[in-house]
């Protein structure tokens, strides 16, 4: 064995011991509904003492954000160590101690575009689960045409002044801070007059209103800015160059959404999921449709794996995130349609639980860029079609 491989095995064995001693028994159940994992922030109600303890223990080791540098609250793990980390967590079915848009989206953007001071100021509270962030991108008039941002941000001498409205802000009513796209130059071409700003949700003039969805829950909000002023230094990257930050962050968001695409139903085979239902798979047409969905699921999962392997081998994956997002989310919608069809009348009751999941998947092909936007990106950037 090489020296590197030796060191990696030492790391694995130490990590395994640490997890064994520190992960509470009730946290060894990687339940994948949205409430079972801590989202952090001032408003978070821990569901148990174990959930709080598990978070605190992981924070001291940097394991909430294992690949972030130690000075920003991470554990500074390399790519191979990170893989070992996920393997060992999975081996005891451990829940992740913390999840948030700060970890998935803002963190990577700040690590790439932020100043050293910004990183020191904003990243450690994300890593400790103290500050929960939300994403203010979409506006009532800027959905797929994301760059058509109208929320106005003016230079008011020693501070910025913001007026406007955001929509589809996930968990804005539970978040402490928002990262948002605002228009800082209304005369520039639309991609060139946008800035990426950070605003405390407690600032006077910021308000939110939850939007009730067809699934009965309200994960999204409208967010309003009425004469909101905030300090000059709360801008990431250059003024009017926020689109660069936004695009970088969107790639991370799409990967996150598509990764969820293949494994709905806890990664179980669709056939097994459907066989649980009362009607089972006796209907030949339903069985045929389920078989097709299963074939496609296996192939899409292999494609996710192939792209991961490719990027680990240093081969570029280009605009693959748009392909994975499109294929993964469309497939997920098909799968949940089949779950409902197999469930029949049984699945129609709210208490049954299948209907909210089914309805939730309808947003998969809209959020983070619609399927049609993904196809347009691919046709231009990959296929080189005019447009």
């Amino acid at each position: 064995m090489t020296e590197d491989a030796d060191q990696l095995e030492v790391f694995r064995s130490e990590l395994r011991d640490w997890l064994e001693q520190n992960c509470p028994a009730s946290m060894r159940d990687s339940g994948n509904d949205e409430g079972s994992i801590c989202w952090g922030g001032k408003n978070w109600d821990f569901t148990s003492d174990d959930q709080r303890t598990w978070l605190q223990r992981c924070v001291t080791k940097g394991y909430t954000v294992p690949t972030w540098p130690v000075e920003y609250g991470g554990a500074g793990l390399s790519r191979v160590q990170e893989k070992v980390f996920h393997e060992e967590m999975a081996a005891i079915d451990a829940r992740y101690p913390l999840q948030s848009f700060g970890i998935w989206m803002l963190g990577p953007a700040l690590l790439h575009f932020g100043t050293h001071e910004q990183k020191l100021h904003y990243l450690p509270p994300i890593a400790r689960g103290e500050v929960r962030w939300c994403q203010g991108y979409s506006e009532p008039g800027a959905g797929s045409d994301l760059a058509n941002v109208q929320t106005k941000c003016e230079d008011n001498g020693d501070h910025w002044l913001v007026n406007g409205q955001k929509i589809w802000t996930s968990y804005a009513n539970k978040a402490d801070w928002i990262f948002a796209l605002v228009r800082t130059d209304k005369d520039a071409p639309k991609h060139k007059g946008i800035s990426f700003v950070l605003i405390d949700m407690e600032t006077p003039g910021v308000s939110t209103r939850p939007i009730q969805l067809i699934s009965g829950v309200s994960p999204f909000c409208e967010t309003f800015f009425d004469d909101v002023s905030f300090p000059k230094e709360q801008v990431v990257g250059e003024i009017n160059r926020g689109w660069d930050v936004a695009k970088y962050l969107l790639t991370h968001e799409r990967e996150m959404i598509s990764a969820g695409g293949g494994s709905m139903g806890g990664g179980r085979a669709l056939g097994a999921v459907l066989a649980d239902s009362e009607t089972g798979l006796c209907d030949p047409i339903l069985r045929g449709d389920a078989m097709r969905a299963e074939v496609d699921t296996l192939a899409v999962e292999l494609t996710l794996e192939r792209y991961k392997d490719q990027s680990e081998s240093g081969q570029g994956t280009g605009d693959a995130s748009a392909m994975l997002k499109y294929m993964g989310t469309e497939l997920n919608k098909r799968r949940l349609e089949l779950v409902m069809a197999a469930g029949g009348a049984e699945a129609l009751e709210w208490d049954d639980g299948r209907a909210p999941n089914w309805l939730r998947t309808k947003a998969n092909s809209i959020e983070g860029g619609t399927s049609e936007v993904m196809l347009s990106i691919l046709s231009k950037r990959v296929l080189g079609l005019p447009g």
């Binding site: 085979a269 066989a275 049609e372 347009s376 691919l378």
Partner: protein
């Protein structure tokens, strides 16, 4: 399991194959054969054998290059791109894999003849319109120390010109695989022209004599030899179909960029852009299944069934989509014989049926996944 990444060797093999085939067997070569009333080109197969393709699955000590199934898939994929007609899958993949399961000297000699390009094989399994080896009726009746074969095989691809045949027959307690020369007395072949310009023979067996030497593997235990051979063939055919889809898609994409209507390239219309992008996505997803099947056959052949069926099922769907979109997006010209897209459509249809269609392979997956 090795990573799902194409290796440098595979990229080099693909480049070398492309270079050779663009020169020796572009689509116009198939058209030339068709116009001359021929279904195969023995000289082309000789050249392929000289490059080591005929022996790609033959052990080195029998004169092969023994590069494995993923490499065979790379070659099949490149052949698919320009619809190359050759005995590659039936001979170099299926027959070679079957012969490798039997390690006797006769099998080694047969492998040597495959690698040198001197002998070609056809697969005589089908008896009805759908692939179903287990339903074989052709009978091999015991007689003395040997057998007498009686019955009929259909859809024997390249059966009109192959030197030998692998024949699946029903024996006392199961199925037995025979390796017979096509000129054995009692065998009559009627080569029928298929839509893809290959021939598929209707083969009649009238009390054909066979002995123990002609049995490949064990009597009553054909599947031990035939199953790995069929899986290898199915994976290679899937790779060919993925290549076919890529070839058809490449032509279509080019056409979208150059064909003008209403004063602009038709590729500027979003209706066509989205269809083209969707097709590209399907091709990418299928490519993963193809690579995975090659890796599975090379590393864990005992447990490769699901990976192989996934590859064949996906490749079937993707090739069908690619040729249908290909004709539609080309418009009227796509319907003409003068244009190549029709050749892609016809080959896709034949390859869809050969060695099990979508439903056959989806069923294998469904069973493995608890349906």
């Amino acid at each position: 399991m090795a990573k799902l990444v194409t290796t440098e060797e595979e990229v080099m093999l693909a480049d070398a194959a492309r270079g050779f085939l663009d020169d020796a067997a572009p689509v116009s070569h198939l058209r030339g054969l068709r116009d001359a009333g021929q279904t195969h080109d023995a000289a082309l197969w000789k050249s392929m054998a000289e490059m080591g393709w005929a022996g790609i699955l033959v052990p080195e000590d029998a004169g092969g290059s023994d590069m494995g199934h993923a490499a065979a898939g790379v070659l099949a994929g490149e052949m698919g791109k320009t619809l190359v007609s050759s005995p590659f899958i039936a001979t170099a993949v299926i027959a070679a894999t079957a012969l490798r399961q039997a390690s006797d000297t006769r099998a080694t000699e047969a492998l040597r003849q495959i690698a040198s390009g001197d002998v070609t094989y056809a697969l005589a399994v089908d008896e009805s319109a759908k692939f179903n080896p287990e339903a074989t009726q052709l009978e091999a009746r015991r007689e003395g120390n040997g057998f007498r074969l009686s019955g009929e095989k259909r859809f024997v691809v390249d059966g009109g010109n192959a030197d030998r045949m692998l024949v699946l027959a029903r024996t006392n307690d199961g199925l037995t695989l025979f390796d017979l020369p096509t000129d054995r007395p009692g065998i009559t072949r009627e080569a029928k022209a298929m839509i893809d310009n290959r021939n598929a023979a209707l083969v009649n067996f009238d009390n054909v004599e066979a002995n123990g030497e002609d049995v490949l593997g064990e009597v009553d235990d054909a599947m031990r030899v035939l199953k790995p051979a069929l899986e290898a063939g199915q994976a290679a055919l899937a790779a060919e179909m993925a290549g076919l889809a890529a070839g058809a898609f490449g032509m279509t994409l080019e056409y979208l960029k150059e064909r003008k209507q209403f004063g602009i390239p038709i590729g500027a219309f979003q209706a066509l852009q989205h269809r083209a992008a969707h097709l590209w996505c399907e091709c990418e997803v299928t490519a993963s299944a193809i690579l995975n099947a090659g890796r599975a056959l090379d590393q864990d052949p005992e447990n490769a069934s699901m990976a192989v069926s996934l590859a064949k099922a996906r490749a079937t769907e993707t090739a069908q989509l690619a040729v249908q979109e290909g004709v539609q997006m080309h418009g009227g010209i796509g319907m003409t014989d003068a244009f190549d897209m029709g050749f892609y459509m016809k080959r896709a249809r034949v390859a869809t049926e050969w060695l099990g269609d979508y439903g056959y392979h989806a069923n294998i997956i469904a069973q493995a996944r608890g349906f």
